[in-house]
């Protein structure tokens, strides 16, 4: 789960990481009070989950009240349905650096990543100037040790007063990383002000989805999602991505669904949505189809080859879903795995023509999506 900047900064502030003074507003009328608190000049920052806000024109530096009002109005009317703006004190910047902590899957450690070249896209920097990035593995059994934080901070060659603040910041950021089961916690840019103070210019915190049972502080709401289908899927814990093609996927197994996605593209077809109802969701065929039907598609393709996700249970769910939801588009099925014979029987009885070969099913779906009948 990805948090908004203001949420991440609240977490930082609680952890003792300095953040600029700011006020979150939800409507234009709240701007006046916010400006009294924050002062001018200030920065008007759209609270959206997508990256690259600066380039997309979703962040504005304003010097006057009139400009602040104009920008607030513009952003609240923006096509990207912005719910809230962070009105933030402008900082006198001397330098920007990059700091993050993530997991290194290969080493199976945490990884503190620091670069004196902050403010820009770290992935770009990793390609163009990899030597400008410092990476320090953190053994999660012991945590980030003060000597490690100190070594990294001193290696940046900054002012001593700044370096001492950085050491504390690294350790506090690690506390946040552990406390929130983070996949990633990032400050980019981390400002060093003209009077040598470190301040988090931005804040990114991504909580591991598998840890949500013990991370109950933040909840996602419908307006965080691009569509109703996406929100519904998330509420059900069903992996779902909406695209703008023709074929709605309702498959089981992450790898198999990805492979079906590839096969459709090889056949010249396009995908309307990725939906995977395998694993713990294999009894949710009705809900899965309900979500699929919310997406504009020309055909729904169901491919499974489950073990615990039994074929007969999924087929029963699909037959039930068809009865209840009366889908307005053709459905192609290719359901194999545990108890597959029973599954085939049930699907036939429901008037479907179950297929048994994935490639054949994909070809049929692509044909139907093009307006063919067989």
């Amino acid at each position: 789960m990805k948090l908004y900047e203001f949420q991440a900064k609240n977490v930082f502030k609680e952890a003792g990481i300095p953040v600029p003074n700011s006020v979150l507003i939800h409507e234009k009328s709240q701007l006046e009070d916010a400006l009294l608190n924050v002062g001018l000049p200030c920065v008007v920052k759209s609270q959206v989950l997508s990256g690259g806000r600066g380039k997309a024109g979703l962040i504005s530096f304003v010097k006057t009240k009139e400009k602040a009002q104009a920008e607030t109005k513009r952003l609240f009317n923006h096509e990207q349905k912005i719910k809230s703006l962070l009105i933030e004190q402008a900082i006198d910047i001397q330098k920007e650096i990059y700091v993050s902590i993530t997991i290194d899957p290969y080493l199976a450690t945490g990884l503190l990543i620091v670069s004196a070249e902050g403010g820009i896209d770290i992935e770009t920097l990793a390609v163009t100037q990899p030597d400008k990035i410092i990476k320090e593995p953190i053994d999660l059994r012991y945590g980030l040790m003060p000597f490690q934080a100190s070594q990294i901070a001193y290696s940046l060659g900054l002012d001593i007063a700044v370096t001492k603040q950085l050491i504390k910041l690294f350790l506090k950021l690690y506390d946040v990383f552990v406390k929130y089961d983070a996949e990633l916690v990032e400050i980019n840019p981390l400002f060093i002000t003209k009077d040598n103070q470190v301040v988090a210019g931005d804040g990114k915190l991504m909580i591991d989805d598998n840890s949500m049972f013990r991370q109950t502080r933040f909840e996602q709401v419908q307006s965080d999602y691009k569509s109703e289908a996406e929100f519904d899927a998330n509420q059900e814990g069903i992996p779902f991505i909406q695209f703008d093609g023709d074929i709605g996927l309702m498959c089981a197994g992450a790898g198999l669904t990805t492979t079906v996605y590839d096969l459709i593209h090889y056949e010249g077809g396009t995908v309307a949505n990725y939906l995977e109802f395998g694993g713990p969701n294999y009894k949710k065929a009705v809900k899965a189809m309900e979500i699929c039907l919310k997406v504009p598609s020309k055909v729904i393709l169901i491919v499974t080859f489950g073990t615990i996700a039994r074929a007969d249970v999924m087929a029963e769910g699909i037959v039930d879903a068809i009865k209840r939801l009366k889908p307005d588009r053709p459905i192609v099925t290719c359901i194999r795995g545990t108890n597959e014979q029973e599954a085939v029987k049930m699907l036939r009885e429901a008037g479907l023509e179950p297929l048994f070969d994935t490639e054949e099913a994909v070809k049929k779906a692509v044909l139907l999506a093009r307006g063919g009948t067989k």
């Binding site: 290969y106 199976a108 013990r214 790898g255 990805t258 395998g278 499974t304 194999r336």
Partner: protein, 296 residues
């Protein structure tokens, strides 16, 4: 022969009294697996499929010789259950749990290394040596998937494994041992770490890996071939060739990030060392033939 598990491996089942635990214990025994006992705290004195249940793994090892532990334990309790098995001295552990917290998985892997043990999973179907034994949940009774043979299979997926393995069998081959390392970003054991065992296994004539976008496990396999650790022929099937960049699709580990983990990179690394990469599941069997792998 086979690797990791065969008809002589003595298995303990943690979580044996649960519905999944008891269901798959029955099937593991039916296939030939030597399940010796089970563990569920609070259930000592009960029997499942005629096997005694203990409060703890420590109690189980007091009473039985145990080579491996199979976990049917929910994700949130998995770290504790793995640690319990490790502390009881068990060196082979399989966990099928789907949804183990990321930080827990990092700690599990570190602990496994410290104890010189192999943890397989989570988010996997487990390990199977067809006709001999299994730890996990495989529909071994579906002959067109789990036929015994000489191909060693390693995979990051579940359903896709059934799909690809069915194609290996369709081409006239069978499986020596199949290991599902799992779909999580940090698996307990990585592909390359099993290659020395497959290389040493006289029954295994070739390897198939079922990978996907994201991570670097396929690249590590390529490196092992380059280093001469694996000299047997290898065919890979990789899902996610057409997946959009920057989009987490499928398994949590399946994302292209930092310019790494694209299927193109993996194909390049593997083909450079002489492995073949199948574009479609059906091609896997044909490529094994192309490499001259004998069918028996």
């Amino acid at each position: 022969m086979s690797i990791f598990i065969d008809q002589n491996t003595l298995v303990c089942v943690q979580g044996i009294t649960g519905s999944e635990g008891s269901f798959w214990t029955k099937h593991m025994i039916e296939l030939g697996t030597k399940v010796v006992c089970g563990v569920t705290p609070g259930k000592q004195g009960q029997f499942v499929e005629g096997k005694p249940v203990y409060h703890s793994v420590a109690k189980a090892v007091e009473n039985h010789k145990i080579d491996a532990s199979m976990l049917f334990v929910p994700p949130r309790l998995t770290k504790d259950a793995v640690m319990e098995a490790l502390h009881a001295g068990i060196k082979k552990i399989v966990t099928i749990a789907d949804g183990i917290p990321l930080h827990d998985m990092v700690l599990i892997r570190q602990a496994a290394k410290e104890h010189n043990a192999f943890v397989v999973g989570g988010n996997t179907s487990g390990v199977i040596s067809p006709k001999l034994a299994m730890m996990g949940s495989f529909p071994y009774w579906i002959d067109r998937v789990y036929k015994k043979g000489n191909i060693g299979v390693m995979t990051r997926s579940g359903s896709l494994t059934n799909e690809v393995t069915a194609m290996i069998v369709e081409a006239g081959y069978g499986v020596s041992t199949l290991i599902g390392v799992g779909g999580d970003p940090v698996p307990g054991t990585r592909f390359a770490e099993f290659l020395p065992q497959y290389e040493a296994d006289s029954e295994t004539k070739a390897i198939v890996i079922i990978g996907e976008l994201g991570g670097t496990m396929e690249e590590e396999v390529a490196q092992s071939i380059k280093d001469g650790i694996l000299t047997k022929p290898l065919v890979a099937f990789l899902g996610g060739r057409t997946a959009p960049k920057g989009q987490k699709m499928g398994h949590a580990g399946a994302i292209i990030s930092g310019g790494k983990g694209s299927v193109e990179d993996k194909i390049k690394a593997l083909t450079e060392v002489g492995a073949l990469v199948a574009e479609r599941p059906r091609m896997v069997g044909k490529l094994l033939e192309k490499l001259g792998v004998p069918k028996s």
